[in-house]
Amino acid sequence: MKKISFRSKTLFLALIPMIYLYGLVIYPFASVIYYSFFSYDIGGTPVFNGVGNYIQLFTDPQFYRTLGLTLSYSILAVGAEFLFGIGLAYLLVHISRGRSVATSILILPLVMTPAVAGIIWRIMFDAGFGHVNFYLSLIGIPGQKWLIRPTEAFISTVIVDVWQWTPFVTLVTFAGLTTLPVELVESAYIDGASEFRTFKDILLPRIRALLYIILFLRVIDTLKIFDTVYTMTGGGPGTATTYMSIFNYLNLMTFYHIGYGCTIAAFFIVLMNVVVTVLSKKAGAALFAA
């Protein structure tokens, strides 16, 4: 590798765009923090409000409700995606035919426009003519008021996340498993381990780093979930599915509170930074190594 040299024009040309773009990252941070201390509604003028917005935020019961909802959503969805996703990878590893068809199908939810997926599920969850209730009735489960009642709406959003992202867990796990040497499996079988035990005790630990990375990505992405939920429920009914990003958006664009919106954004950005810092201890090193 070359030592940096000031004659190296190429290098500077290469890095200038990055510096320019950093303006675009640092500006928003500064701006969000700045306006978070102002009382400022759309169409109005900013009035300095001190920590007033923050007091409002931390005394707002809806804020705590949103925080709790977002966390529950994240834990439930990611937990389900890992169980289901790794289970599916287990099936994929142990079949000999049809893998290509299976992986093609699993790609679909991942590339489907999330906003559009939200709309399709909104139709499918329809209490009257929705297909979800119809298929449930076939196996003897009575129809649910999916997007109408709070708990059911919450569960619906989790189901959609599981639908969209389980394939990600499956495909990454499967890809990781196929890179392992065949002797590892054979050795474990010969040592007397069952297929399941081999998978759980020998193979999964081998792709631990990979699993950390996707766990990390899934936790981050569920915490900032917006697209599918917004087009499916709009955060409702009431505030039953108003997760952090939606809470932030609604305060800004529906209630026109720019100052308060910035306060929420500031809090959320800091929160995500903390989460990323904590979680990336293990995942980060793995990403750099990859």
Binding site: M1, K2, I107, M112, T113, F134, T166, T231, L252
Partner: protein
């Protein structure tokens, strides 16, 4: 043994049905005559019609938003490449101080809560007159694409042996020539996959477009929300719109199947 295999296939089939059903459902309804839609049990076999598509394409300025989405996606990916590729190459091949920090910060963009970060852009764009313009949207999308371009291309460029580049340099090519004429052609598959990946990502983007555009520069995913408002119970037309928006991405996604997972895992899967 046989029984176990059978059970595996059955479980797999049921799971796959769950993942494919919403897609099948959208395609099904999109071609379904209006009368057949509100029937249970659902109609699986019917005389397909293009009425729903005609309705969507002929109204709500579908073609305008289609153009918006296409232009924004193509331009933003192209610009991101121009900005990101040389930077990636420099970050791989030169001994830049704080390289790890720079890479982490670029990656960090991927983890930001995008709707929150877009708020100051909104304020800035309104005051600069960039609100609801393609240019404004492009500026932010470049930022969004950067982590993918840098992290994915970093992996591909690192796979090219340094010795190879050095041997061309010794033979008289400049560093820029080596990059353009030797390295890039070697990683073109990865580059192509990265481009398609970013294209899918940009096309599907919703949060920022929702905040930063009005009726003028709006993209299709945002417009789809408008369809819900105006089409409401016209499920057939709604699904036709969904199919029109999502199917190009499905095609691209299937094309880059293997690379897609690499992209989504930020290069962790090879």
């Amino acid at each position: 043994m046989k029984l176990k295999t059978l059970i595996f296939y059955i479980l797999l089939a049921i799971s796959l049905l769950f993942f494919i059903y919403p897609v099948y459902f959208a395609f099904n309804l999109a071609f379904m005559p209006r009368a057949a839609i509100f029937q249970l049990p659902p109609n699986y076999i019917f005389q397909p019609t293009l009425d729903n598509f005609v309705k969507v394409i002929n109204s709500w300025e579908f073609s305008k938003y289609l153009m918006n989405s296409t232009i924004v996606s193509i331009l933003s990916v192209t610009l991101s490449l121009i900005v990101g590729l040389p930077a990636t190459y420099a970050l791989v091949r030169y001994d830049i101080p704080k390289k790890g920090t720079i890479l982490s910060m670029i990656l960090g963009i991927r983890f930001l809560p995008i709707t929150s970060v877009a708020i100051p852009f909104y304020i800035m764009f309104v005051s600069l007159g960039l609100y609801d313009t393609m240019f404004g949207l492009l500026l932010t999308y470049i930022l969004l694409n950067l982590p993918f371009i840098v992290w994915l291309m970093r992996g591909y460029i690192m796979d090219v042996p340094t010795e190879l580049e050095e041997s061309y340099e010794v033979d008289g090519l400049s560093k820029t020539q080596v990059f353009l004429r030797i390295t890039l052609p070697l990683v073109y598959k990865g580059l192509l996959a990265t481009v398609l990946f970013c294209f899918i990502f940009t096309w599907n983007e919703f949060g920022i477009a929702l905040l930063l555009t009005g009726t003028n520069a709006r993209t299709l995913p945002v417009q789809s929300l408008q369809f819900v408002a105006s089409l409401g119970l016209d499920w057939g037309a709604l699904c036709a719109a969904a199919v029109l928006i999502a199917s190009p991405m499905i095609v691209f996604g299937l094309l880059i199947r293997r690379y897609l997972i690499r992209g989504l895992s930020l290069g962790a899967v090879r």
